[in-house]
C-alpha cells in the first residue's frame, strides 16, 4: 500500500506529465533501453546535485538579488556538467565515450533547470520546505519522475511508431497525444 501511495505521489508531482518539462528529451530517452537508462541516470544526478546547489543559492542569495537566481543556477549546473564529464573521463575513457552524449543532452535540459525552479518556488511558498533534505528528496523524486514518465512512454513507443499509425501522426505527434492522455489521467490523481 505504501508503494502504491508513493507511486501515485510521484505521478501526481511528475514534472513531465504535469508541467511538460523535458518532454523532447523524454522522446529520445524512450527510443531505446540504453538511451532510457543513460538519460534517466544522468538527469537524476543533475536534478539531485542541482537541487543541493539550489538550496545553497537560495539560502545565501539576498532577496534583493533574486533576479540573479537564473545566473547562479546556470553556473552551478555548468560546474556539475564539468565535474561529471571530468570524473567520467578519469574513471573510464571508454565509459566517457559511451556516456558523454547523455551528459551533454541532460545538462541544460528543461527537466533539470525546471526542477530547480519548481523546488525553489515550493520553498518560497512553504518555509518548512527550506531544508537541505527537502531539496535533496525533491531533486531525487524529479529524477524518479522522469524515469516513470520514460517507462510509460517506452511501453507504447513501438506502437506509436508502427505502420498502423497514419504517417502524419506517426512518432512525435502520436507520442504527444499519448502523453496528453496520460497527463489527463495524472491530473485526475491530483
Amino acid at each position: 500500500m505504501f508503494l502504491v501511495t508513493e507511486l501515485i505521489a510521484l505521478l501526481a508531482a511528475n514534472l513531465i506529465l504535469t508541467q511538460a518539462l523535458g518532454t523532447s528529451t523524454l522522446f529520445i530517452a524512450a527510443g531505446s533501453r540504453k538511451n532510457l537508462v543513460g538519460t534517466a541516470v544522468v538527469i537524476t544526478i543533475f536534478t539531485t546535485a542541482g537541487s543541493l546547489a539550489a538550496y545553497i543559492i537560495q539560502r545565501e542569495l539576498p532577496e534583493k538579488y533574486s533576479y540573479l537566481t537564473l545566473l547562479f543556477y546556470t553556473l552551478s549546473v555548468g560546474i556539475l556538467y564539468v565535474i561529471l564529464l571530468s570524473a567520467l573521463y578519469f574513471i573510464s575513457r571508454k565509459g566517457f565515450e559511451k556516456t558523454r552524449k547523455y551528459i551533454h543532452l541532460s545538462a541544460y535540459n528543461c527537466a533539470v533547470m525546471g526542477t530547480l525552479f519548481t523546488i525553489t518556488e515550493k520553498a518560497q511558498n512553504d518555509a518548512s520546505f527550506m531544508t537541505l533534505k527537502s531539496f535533496f528528496l525533491a531533486g531525487l523524486s524529479s529524477g524518479a519522475g522522469f524515469i516513470i514518465a520514460a517507462l510509460i512512454l517506452t511501453a507504447a513507443y513501438r506502437k506509436l511508431n508502427s505502420a498502423k499509425v497514419p504517417a502524419s501522426f506517426r512518432g512525435f505527434p502520436a507520442m504527444l497525444v499519448y502523453l496528453g492522455i496520460i497527463s489527463m489521467a495524472v491530473y485526475a490523481l491530483r
Binding site: 511538460a20 518539462l21 538511451n35 546556470t74 551533454h104 502524419s168 496528453g180
Partner: protein
Amino acid sequence: MSNSRSSVFDGLLRENTVLSSLLVISPVIMCGDTLRNAEALVYAFSVITFFSVMIASFVPKKLPYAVKIIIYAVISSLIYIPVRIVTQEYFPGIVARIGIYFPLLAVNSLIVVQTETKFFRMKKLKMTFSLIFSILGFDAVMLLTAVIRELLAYGTINSKVVDMHTLISGLGMPFGGFIFLGLMCGLYRKIRSMAGYEDNKVRSEENVSGN
C-alpha cells in the same frame, strides 16, 4: 541559391522549430493558452534567443564543447535580466503568471543545442537570417496555439469575450496543451508531405553528441 534560400527559411516552414524539431515545447504546452501569455513569451523568447546566439557566435570555436555550452547559457542568463525587468514593466503580472517558464526560456534548445549543431556551422549572414526565421517559427506556433486554445477553452481572444456556444475547458490545461500540440504536429506534417517535403527525423541524439 534556391537550396541556400530554403534552408534559411527552414526554422519557420519546412523544419519548424516547434512542430518539426519539437524544440521549446514546454512553454507552448503550459503557457500557450492565452494570447496575453503568448505575447510576453514571444517577446522574451525572441529577444533572449536572438541576442544570446549573436553574442555567443563570438565565442572561440576551439573551446571544448561543454565549455562553449556553459558560456552560451551564461550569456543568455545575463541577457535574461534586463528582459525580465522590461517584461515586468510592459506586461505587469505576466512574469508571475508564466512562473518558471520565463527563466527557462533563457536555456532553450535553440541556444544550448542548435547553436553548435546548426547556427555556428553557417556563415554569419546566413546564420542571422536562419536564426530570425527559427525564432519566427516558434513565435508563429506560440501565437497560433494561444489564439485557438484561448478561444476554445475560455471563449475569449486577448481577454475579450467572443460569442462561443461550446467551450472545451480542458484545452486550457496542460493535458489539453499536449493533445493540441500533437494534433498540430500531425496536421503540419500532413501539409508538409502534401507540399512534397520528405519526412525526416530532425532531432536525434546525434544532434547533441558533442565533440
